[in-house]
Structure formats: structure tokens, C-alpha cells
């Protein structure tokens, strides 16, 4: 039996094809929208881009959501979803403050590692429940979202972590810049590069897509679905844990309500970035761009004088627009492939 390609082989050279892929990609569309938003805001107020403060905000503001969205994208690619990341962020953010209060002099790197480890642990609980309990991730993580939030509400009560509770060196990490690039942004980009490399260029990374694309086929083919899904949740949790530590450094104040509804922002960012909500397609750098777009729009609308209610409505319209675009592109792709099959 010979294999027949369903679409015509490309005659372009590799470099050309790469250039074409980049220009026509979903991600490029988001980059253009982001640039348009920045251009609009800057034309209204040139401080938006051309002041050191504006430049820093532009890079710094999306960094925490970027990390969360990358984690969410990895989970969503496997045809799962993690609604508990906002609560996980709250636990690790509050814990960061508590560690500095209860163990004076604790090294900052230790706090970061503990935050990531605790986040990974909470993600592991989600992963085990989803993989072995055979319960839909939506239900499991909806449950753990409330449980984790309950934990931090009980722990923190009406108390909160204040800036003066944490060492100044740690708070400086939240605002520090290296060659005008904020440290938190560098951290987010490093996470992004690692995630892109893993999902694109390693066997286990590609298997994530296979599992999300067609779980039955992936299992029949012998892919370790259970293990991969657990890994996805552990990574999602670990990144939420890291985001919690970043949150504490950035805001300097942590109350029990920290990160409330951020899970929805993270999923929204991934969807806007072209990650299909039913798994199997999308890229983490799309999700990261989605996070940048969301946060940048949030900063732009008050400058444009858009009233409060409409600021949320714009975000909602973006998410719906992104999904409609996905459906349209997917339908067109299916039609094309069918036509190609009918011709052969």
C-alpha cells in the first residue's frame, strides 16, 4: 500500500515556506492586532510607548498572565482544561509571603523553588484525578478551584501579606529591569522558549498534540496518555506556582482573593491565541501573545476613556471572535482536505 498525500507537495524552498508560514500564521494576526492597539494608544498619548514607564508597563504587565496562559495552553492541547490555576496562584502567592514572615532570612531562590514545587503538587492532584478518576477535567478542576481557594481563605482569613512583610530584594525582583527589559518579562520569555521547544521538537511534546487531537487513536497507537496528561497538569500547576511567586513580587500585597478569575483570563488568552478549546492544535506562543493582547487592551481602554462596562465587553468580543475564526478556519481546512481526497 502506498501513501498518498492529500494535499499537493509544496514546491517552495524551506526558507520560503517558513516565511510564508510565519506571515500567514494565526500568531502573526495577533501580533498585528497588538501592534494596532499599541499604535492607537500611543497616538492618543505618546507616553504609552515613548516613556520609560510606558515601555516598562508594556512589557511587565502581561508577564504573569503569560506564564499562566502557557500552562493553560499545554493542558488544553491535551483536550483538558485547568480551572484551578487562579486558586493555585493564590496559594503560592500567599505562601511566598508567609515563608518570608515565618522563616526570616530564607533565601529567595528557595522561596521560588518551593512555590513552583507546591504548584506542581497541586497540579499533580488535578492530573491524578483526571487521569485515573476518568472524570472530565472541567469538573475536577472546578472542584479543586473551590477547594484550593477554600484553603487559602482559611489560611489567610481576613489577613493579608503586605509589602513590608517581604524583603526589599524580593520586591525589587518584581520591578527590576535588565537593559530596560523587566526581569519578570525575561522569566516569562524563558518559560515560553522552553515550552515552545518541548512541544515542537521533542517526542513527548508532539505526543501531547496527538493525545488531544484523537485520544482513542493515541491510546490504540500505544501512546502513554495517562502519563502525558498527568505531566500536562503538573506543568500547568508548576507554572501557576511560579506565577504566584511573581504575583507576590509584582504587587507586594497578597490577600485571599489574589488571582480570582485569572484562570478565565489564562484560558481566554490561550483561546485568543489560537489554542483550540477541544485540544490537538494551537501553540504556546500563540497563548503568550493572547496574554499580551488581553493585558495591553486592558491598559489601553482606560486611556481611551472607554467606560468600565465596555472594557469587559471588548475582551468578551475578542474571545468570541477568536473562536468564530477558529471554526471558520477549521471548516475551510476540512473542506479543502475533502476536495483533495475526492480528486485522488
Amino acid at each position: 500500500m502506498s501513501t498518498v498525500a492529500l494535499s499537493k507537495p509544496s514546491h517552495m524552498r524551506n526558507a520560503q515556506r517558513f516565511a510564508k508560514n510565519v506571515v500567514t500564521s494565526r500568531e502573526m494576526a495577533i501580533v498585528l492586532v497588538i501592534l494596532a492597539v499599541i499604535a492607537t494608544a500611543t497616538s492618543l498619548n505618546q507616553n504609552f510607548l515613548f516613556s520609560s514607564q510606558g515601555w516598562r508597563d508594556l512589557l511587565l504587565t502581561p508577564s504573569i498572565l503569560m506564564v499562566l496562559a502557557i500552562g493553560s495552553a499545554i493542558v488544553i492541547v491535551t483536550r483538558n482544561v485547568d480551572l484551578s490555576v487562579g486558586s493555585t496562584l493564590a496559594i503560592t502567592a500567599y505562601m511566598t509571603g508567609r515563608l518570608f514572615i515565618d522563616f526570616p532570612g530564607i533565601p529567595i531562590i528557595g522561596v521560588i523553588l518551593i512555590g513552583v514545587a507546591v504548584g506542581a503538587g497541586l497540579g499533580l492532584i488535578n492530573g491524578l484525578l483526571v487521569a485515573f478518576g476518568k472524570v472530565p477535567a472541567l469538573v475536577v478542576t472546578l472542584g479543586t478551584m473551590y477547594i484550593y481557594r477554600g484553603v487559602v481563605l482559611t489560611w489567610a482569613g481576613s489577613d493579608r501579606i503586605n509589602a513590608s512583610d517581604m524583603p526589599r530584594e524580593f520586591l525589587n525582583l518584581g520591578t527590576m529591569q535588565i537593559a530596560t527589559i523587566p526581569l519578570l518579562t525575561i522569566a516569562a520569555v524563558v518559560v515560553l522558549i522552553a515550552a515552545v521547544y518541548w512541544l515542537n521538537s521533542t517526542r513527548s511534546g508532539r505526543e501531547m498534540y496527538a493525545i488531544g487531537s484523537n485520544p482513542e487513536a493515541a491510546t490504540l497507537y500505544g501512546l502513554p496518555s495517562t502519563k502525558r496528561i498527568i505531566v500536562a497538569f503538573v506543568i500547568g500547576g508548576a507554572l501557576a506556582g511560579l506565577a504566584g511567586v511573581m504575583y507576590a513580587a509584582r504587587y507586594g500585597t497578597v490577600s485571599a482573593g489574589a488571582g480570582m478569575t485569572w484562570e478565565l483570563n489564562a484560558i481566554g488568552a490561550a483561546v485568543i491565541g489560537g489554542v483550540a478549546i477541544f485540544g490537538g492544535s494551537g501553540t504556546v506562543w500563540g497563548a503568550a501573545l493572547g496574554a499580551i493582547l488581553l493585558m495591553t487592551i486592558n491598559r489601553t481602554l482606560p486611556i481611551m476613556g472607554v467606560p468600565d462596562f465596555w472594557q469587559r465587553a471588548v475582551v468578551g468580543a475578542l474571545i468570541i471572535g477568536a473562536i468564530v475564526l477558529d471554526r471558520y478556519l477549521a471548516a475551510r481546512q476540512t473542506r479543502k482536505l475533502q476536495e483533495a481526497r475526492d480528486e485522488t
Binding site: 513590608s164 504587587y251 486592558n298
Partner: protein, 344 residues
């Protein structure tokens, strides 16, 4: 197993009751459990905060203890570990059974403790609420920390002093539909119009008591109004976020932040000069006044009718207002001179 748990709980309960008995045995008074017939030096007064271990109530109870010591009564403090609607009921019942002369309570719920409080009043205990009122029909008097007029006035006074009576200010509030915030803002606008013609209120922004939104709104205010002199935030989340944002931005030292906050929250920013002064009531004075109010009701000096007057030690004379409310007075202003005296 079950029996073990049961007996452990029983032991705990017994220990708790014994502790209460010992406490009240120390503070008990042999003859006087009727309103109006006890003298100051044999009054036993129980303070019931919303929960124990809360720095705010630790501070207010310190004030209460001072007052009780000044008139020579016996002070005791009991309360639940957690702030739940009905958690205080058992402590009220115990205090009533011990024949306490007065119960001073911050109601965890407007109605849940009511029946227990009324039973306590029937056996002769005076009931004083402070910080959070219950319904007016289940206490004798309520010691109110601040009224809207005083809060608005204090904030206008602070900002006017800090910018020398002229310039541009903006308000960063909680959500656009927060009733009390809107009432304060309205009164602040009236006060600015009436007495500070050279201060221009350029914008009212809403940060929704969310850190990132408050950051974004602060940034938008700073970028849109390049001549801004101060931001007034009548909400604890907003003031901390605005201070954090400004303290490490290019606007540090140029734009001042003031409003309502707690000393622990604002310590960092008072030290670095972003905040010169901010206001809140002084919980120690609040507890002190509540202690003296309990003395006045228990000795029959006042009955809780409008117009009754009584002496409250170092705070001077107070008059009971409508619905049995006693107003502590103007908010307390915290600055670099006095902030280290407070820990809440």
C-alpha cells in the same frame, strides 16, 4: 476511632469551659448583675471580637483593657478562632451565665448573635457593639468608628495639606457601584467645591479592588493627566496598589498617594515617601471608647437614649446619637511620626 475523636473533643470542650470558668471566676462579681446598680470598681466586662488573633481586634482590645483598668473593672476577652456568623453565640451565652455586667462585641453578623445578646440583656448584662453593629434592637449602644462626613472631610484635608491647597487630584475608588465609596466621593466633591476652589478633581477611576486593575487605572491616570499632583484612594486595595505602582515608577516623589489604609499595609510606602499621610480610625481608641460606653450603660449613667452624655476617660465627653450610636470622631491620621506605634 470514633470514641477517641469524641473523647478528644470532649476533653477540649471541657478544657475550654474550665478556662472560661477560671476567667470569669477572676472577673466575676458577686452581687451586681443588674443594670444600674453596680459601681465602676466591681464591673466585669467581656470583650468578644469577631475572632481572636486578629491584629485589628488585638489593638482595639488593648484600648478596651486600658479603659476597664482605669475604672477599676475586670477585663476579659473571649471569642471564636474564626469569623463565622454564629461563632460568637456560645461565648455570649457563657458570658451571660457568668453574670457579666457588660458584653462588648463586634458583631460577626447583624442578626445571628441577636437572640443570644437579648437573652444576656434580660439577665442584666449591658450590651455594647463596636466596629460592626448588630440590629439596634439587640444592643444598648453602638460605638461607630467613623461617619461618611468625617471620612470625606479627613481625606480632603489630607490631600489639600499635602499639595498646598492647589493642583490636580484624581480619585481611585473600588467598583463603580460601591455604595459607601460613592457616598464618600460625593461628599468629597462637595467639600472640594465649597472650600478648595484651586484643587481640581480631574478624574474618578475604578480599580474594582483588584491589584492589576488598580495598577492599570493608576497608570492611565498618570499618563492622561501629566500635571497630576495626588491620587486619593478611599479603599485599602486601591491605596496600596497606587502606592506600589508609583513608588517604583518615574512618578515617585512627584505624585503623592493618600486615602484610607492600614498601617501595616502602608508602612513600606510611608518609609519611602510615596505616602505622606493616610487615614483610618484608631482601633485602640475605638476599643477604649467601647469600654467606657460599657461602663456608662452598666452603671446606669446612660440608658442609650439619644442625647445621653457620658465621660470616656482621656477621650472626654461623648453624646449618644440617633439609634443609640456613639461616634468615635474624626478618622485618625497616620504618618511617618506615629506609624510605628501601630501593628494592624
Amino acid at each position: 476511632m470514633k470514641r477517641n475523636i469524641f473523647s478528644a473533643r470532649a476533653a477540649l470542650t471541657a478544657a475550654g469551659m474550665a478556662a472560661v470558668l477560671v476567667l470569669s471566676a477572676c472577673g466575676g462579681d458577686e452581687n451586681g448583675n443588674g443594670n444600674g446598680d453596680a459601681e465602676g470598681d466591681d464591673l466585669s466586662i467581656t470583650f468578644i471580637p469577631k475572632n481572636l488573633g486578629n491584629p485589628y481586634f488585638d489593638t482595639s482590645n488593648t484600648g478596651g483593657e486600658d479603659a476597664v483598668n482605669e475604672f477599676g473593672g475586670e477585663f476579659s476577652e473571649v471569642g471564636p478562632q474564626e469569623d463565622t456568623p454564629d461563632g460568637q453565640v456560645q461565648y455570649i451565652n457563657t458570658a451571660a451565665q457568668q453574670g457579666e455586667d457588660a458584653i462588648v462585641i463586634s458583631g460577626s453578623d447583624p442578626s445571628a448573635p441577636c437572640d443570644a445578646l437579648n437573652e444576656a440583656r434580660e439577665v442584666g448584662a449591658a450590651v455594647v457593639t463596636f466596629d460592626s453593629d448588630t440590629g439596634p434592637d439587640c444592643r444598648d449602644v453602638f460605638v461607630n468608628q467613623a461617619d461618611a462626613q468625617g471620612i470625606a472631610q479627613a481625606q480632603v484635608d489630607m490631600v489639600a495639606e499635602q499639595i498646598d491647597g492647589e493642583g490636580q487630584i484624581a480619585i481611585l475608588s473600588a467598583s463603580a457601584n460601591a455604595t459607601n465609596q460613592n457616598q464618600w466621593i460625593e461628599l468629597m466633591e462637595e467639600e472640594l467645591d465649597a472650600n478648595h476652589p484651586d484643587i481640581e478633581l480631574v478624574e474618578i477611576a475604578y480599580g474594582d479592588d483588584d491589584d492589576q486593575r488598580s495598577f492599570d487605572q493608576t497608570a492611565a491616570l498618570l499618563q492622561t493627566h501629566s500635571d497630576l499632583d495626588a491620587i486619593v484612594s478611599p479603599t485599602t486595595v486601591g491605596i496600596a496598589a497606587a502606592a506600589r505602582y508609583i513608588s517604583d515608577s518615574d512618578y515617585a516623589g512627584e505624585v503623592l498617594v493618600t486615602g484610607l489604609g492600614t498601617p501595616n499595609q502602608m508602612r513600606e510606602y510611608v518609609e519611602d515617601g510615596t505616602v505622606e499621610a493616610f487615614a483610618l480610625w484608631n482601633p485602640e481608641d475605638l476599643g477604649y471608647l467601647a469600654g467606657w460606653a460599657a461602663h456608662a450603660v452598666a452603671t446606669g449613667e446612660i440608658s442609650g437614649e439619644e442625647g445621653d452624655t457620658f465621660e470616656a476617660g482621656r477621650l472626654g465627653e461623648y453624646t449618644v446619637g440617633e439609634d443609640g450610636e456613639i461616634l468615635l470622631g474624626d478618622p485618625f491620621v497616620f504618618d511617618s511620626e506615629n506609624i510605628d506605634d501601630f501593628d494592624f
